[in-house]
Every structure is written in structure tokens, then in C-alpha cells.
């Protein structure tokens, strides 16, 4: 992309989450992206004010029951992914993160799923769906970590 200062060493990160708690938890990971070129994606245009000076793209929100909304979201995300060409895709949930992780994997990106701290008893449904697609598959609760399950390296709190 012309106009951007980037070198081969600067990874492009796509950081994506739906609204509310998912977005708030993603923001708490920001130091992990320092030095990378980050594109944030979420579901409310007003969230741009949370990441001043960074690229932010708003997409539509959709739940698992809204097939039309989900299809629209998936296509929009495919378009974003092809433009951004991320080296890394990271998500804290839910539906947008699911699509982004799948598409990211397909396009050869490294992928990180951090299940929301709200999922105390088991991994979220979307979390389970990306199990095999995530380079790093994380829970925030030590008691949910398992050898063939998610890893735990601490929480956003």
C-alpha cells in the first residue's frame, strides 16, 4: 500500500472484536502490538476514539441467529483482510473474530484467539470453533487450561 511506511520487519496486525466487553478486553492488549502496524476492527464507529492515531474500521454487528448479517460481516471482513494482508490476526470474540481468524488462517496469517474473561466455566462457542485455526488459543482462567485444550498466560485484569 503506497504512502505507508513499512518494512518487511514491521508486522501487520489485525485486531478485531465485537462490542462492549470484547472490545474493552482487546484494548487492554495494546502493549503487545507496540512496534507493529495495527488495524483495529469493531462494530461501532464511535470506538475509533479509543484508538486515536490508529487505523480503525467499523463493520456491522451480527449474532449467530442473524444469517444475513453474518454473511454481510464475512464478506466485509474478507475485503478488509485482502486489503490489510495481516501477518497476525488477534481477537477476543465473538462473531467478527471467528470469521477473521478463519480468513486469517486461510491467508497464511498467525492467529491468536483470547477467549473472553466472561467465559469462566468453558470456552465460548466461537472459541471452540476456532480451536484448530488459532496459532495461540487462550483462556484467561487457569482452571480451564489443559494439555489438549487452551493455554492460559494470565488475564486482561
Amino acid at each position: 500500500m503506497a504512502g505507508h511506511q513499512s518494512t518487511k520487519q514491521t508486522p501487520r496486525v489485525l485486531a478485531i472484536a465485537s462490542g462492549g466487553g470484547h472490545w474493552v478486553q482487546l484494548l487492554r492488549l495494546r502493549p503487545a502490538f507496540e512496534g507493529a502496524r495495527v488495524t483495529y476492527v469493531s462494530v461501532r464507529p464511535a470506538y475509533a476514539s479509543d484508538v486515536p492515531g490508529q487505523r480503525f474500521i467499523a463493520i456491522n454487528d451480527a449474532t449467530r441467529w442473524d444469517k444475513v448479517g453474518l454473511a454481510k460481516m464475512a464478506f466485509k471482513l474478507l475485503w478488509i483482510m485482502l486489503r490489510v494482508r495481516p501477518n497476525v490476526v488477534i481477537s477476543t470474540g465473538a462473531a467478527p473474530g471467528y470469521f477473521a481468524i478463519r480468513l486469517g488462517k486461510l491467508l497464511g496469517a498467525r492467529t491468536i484467539w483470547l477467549d473472553s474473561i466472561a467465559n469462566v466455566e468453558e470456552m465460548s462457542m466461537t472459541g471452540m470453533l476456532v480451536k484448530d485455526k488459532a496459532t495461540l488459543w487462550l483462556t484467561q482462567w487457569p482452571h480451564l487450561a489443559a494439555e489438549n485444550g487452551p493455554q492460559c498466560h494470565g488475564s486482561v485484569l
Binding site: 508486522p11 496486525v13 462490542g19 462492549g20 466487553g21 470484547h22 472490545w23 474493552v24 478486553q25 487492554r28 492488549l29 495494546r30 502493549p31 503487545a32 502490538f33 512496534g35 507493529a36 461501532r44 464511535a46 470506538y47 476514539s49 479509543d50 449474532t63 497476525v88 488477534i90 498467525r110 491468536i112 483470547l114 473472553s116 474473561i117 466472561a118 467465559n119 469462566v120 466455566e121 496459532t135 495461540l136 487462550l138 484467561q140 482462567w141 493455554q151 498466560h153 494470565g154 488475564s155 486482561v156 485484569l157
Partner: protein
Amino acid sequence: MIFVTVGAQMAFDRMIKAVDQWAGKSGRTDVFAQIGPAEYTPRHIAHTGFLEPPQFAERAKAARVIVAHAGMGSIITALTMGKPILVMPRRGDLRETRNDHQIATAQRLSELGKVVVAMDEEELIERLGRLEEVSAAGAIGPYAQDSLIAAVRGVVFPTQGR
């Protein structure tokens, strides 16, 4: 000032109704509630459907205590500001959210001393009656635990190592 919030996604009339009734009975007038796409219209408390992030932060900052659904957005906001937070979990069987995850979240975080929990309307009204006892857990920093940041960074910058 008491700031009440149901989060950005859904209404939570059961909680708002309880707070409203309590405010009416106790004569408390310094309550402001963000109620979402609600069917119940509060009669005793100031309210709005939604707040954009800056306005939300402003209301939260001005509050002595925050009363909220057990959503992580609300809880993390309160914790970063060092505000006491009283939460009432949404119930899956009442279709207040997709499942009972808020009940488990609220219980765990209460065990960790991060939040005070009221499991239902009755308990909420009871806790509101002795709100001065709800104290802050101590402010948390703006970012995740270092160990989590390091794990994520290891994948973002794989060649740098640690």
C-alpha cells in the same frame, strides 16, 4: 451519584425496574441509568438508552458507585477507574442474554474481591439500601497482565524471542 448501566447490547429491565423502585421508595434522586432498548420506562431515575464511549466514561467517572449487569465492559471500566461496582447477572432462562455465563462470571469475580454481586432484584434492592458498604477493589492498570502481553507479543514478533 449512582451510575447504572446495562451495557451496549441489550436492555435489562429486571435490574432497571428494581433500581427505579428503590429510588422511588428511598427518595434517592442522584441516580442516572443507561437502560438500552428498554420496554420499561423508569419513573424515578434519570435515564438514557445509549451513551457513546466518551459520555459513558464521563458518567462513570462522576459516580460514587456503579451498578451494572455482570458484563465485562462495565466491570473493567469500573475497575480501571477504581470505582466500587455492584453487579446483577443476566439470566439465560429469561432470555436476558444467551446463557448463564454472567452468573458464573459474577460469582468468580466476587470471590476474587473485584465486584459485589446481587443475584436477583430482591438482593439488589437490599444491597442498594446499604450502598455505602460497597467499596472499590483498588484500581487496576490500563493493560493486561505482563505474562499475557508477553505471550501475545511472542506471536506478533516471533523472531525477537524472549
